[in-house]
């Protein structure tokens, strides 16, 4: 029994644990991302009361608006999981459909963030206005970049699948992107609660 890394004819990988290398790698990466976002959230927590001359959180946050965009991102997790489900069934058409919908919902979320940040800026809360504003924008900015990278990956997988150029297992690739996507959603669940809903 060789322990090499290519898929055998049964479609499964021979590994010591029986687990896929890609999946293990992705979960390890997500574990490390907890430390990244934890650091950004902690920095925000430390500085959220330091508003200087600038506006306070309660003055700028628009809870109804952010609730809607949070809901949008949450639903994108649903469509992502439907995409993975379709991919496992080998249903390329529905996979591409749900992946595209997920990307669109994600783009809606990012669009909402851009709108929200522009509004904040117009209300006198720029990146360097205060420690609160800097740490808020760094935290949500990093999250937004993660979402954007996710959207790029989603659109890429649609394009790559359409040209039948997926190396390796299609369903596993979609699943890996799915794990990343859900994690980004889960980070927002934390951000929305801790930053928006809990008053400073």
């Amino acid at each position: 029994m060789t322990a090499d890394s290519h898929a055998d004819s049964h479609g499964g990988a021979h590994t010591s644990t029986g687990l896929s290398n890609n999946k293990l790698g992705m979960w390890l990466f997500l574990g490390s991302e907890c430390l990244l976002f934890g650091g950004l959230i902690s920095t925000y927590m430390l500085y959220r009361g330091r508003v200087g001359e600038g506006p306070r959180p309660s003055q700028v946050f628009d809870i109804p608006f952010t609730s809607v965009s949070s809901f949008v991102l949450l639903m994108s997790s649903l469509t992502m999981v439907l995409a993975v489900s379709a991919a496992h069934k080998g249903d390329d058409r529905n996979t591409n459909l749900w992946v595209t919908v997920t990307a669109l919902l994600g783009a809606t979320f990012v669009g909402g963030q851009v709108y929200e940040f522009t509004a904040f800026y117009n209300e006198g809360m720029g990146f360097t206005t205060s420690l609160f504003s800097s740490s808020f924008f760094v935290l949500t900015g990093f999250h937004g970049v993660h979402v954007t990278v996710g959207i790029i990956m989603l659109m890429s997988i649609v394009g790559i699948m359409k040209r039948s150029k997926v190396p390796g297992s299609k369903s596993e690739t979609v699943e890996m992107i799915g794990l990343y996507w859900h994690f980004v959603d889960v980070v927002w669940i934390i951000i929305f609660t801790l930053i928006y809903l809990i008053p400073a």
Binding site: G11, T17, G39, F71, I189
Partner: protein, 99 residues
């Protein structure tokens, strides 16, 4: 000692099941937003944190399938999560954030 991986759809939910989960998540989100408007007094913070944790757990366990996967994945992921919570919790504590 090598084992083959199995398709994860063995334990996959039906699409209807996923929609149900999403509905639960939406409902909890609505409740969370409601706490912003309703005065819960001392219950505010704990209830909000619990709801956040429950949503987190549901997405990770069901959407990310962690509940049905090898325990190793749970270990490495939750190790990162709890390490982050502990280390950053201590960090904030040194700034008297919790007092």
């Amino acid at each position: 000692m090598t084992t083959e991986t199995h398709s994860t759809t063995e334990h996959g939910m039906s699409n209807a099941g996923y929609v149900r989960i999403a509905a639960i998540l939406a409902a909890i989100t609505a409740l969370e937003v409601a706490t912003y408007y309703i005065d819960l007094g001392a219950l505010f913070l704990p209830s909000l944190l619990i709801m956040m944790a429950v949503k987190f757990y549901i997405v990770v366990s069901f959407f990310m399938h962690l509940r049905y996967e090898s325990k190793l994945f749970s270990w490495v992921f939750y190790a990162g999560l709890f390490l982050a919570m502990t280390v950053y919790g201590i960090f904030l504590a040194t700034f008297h954030f919790f007092s």
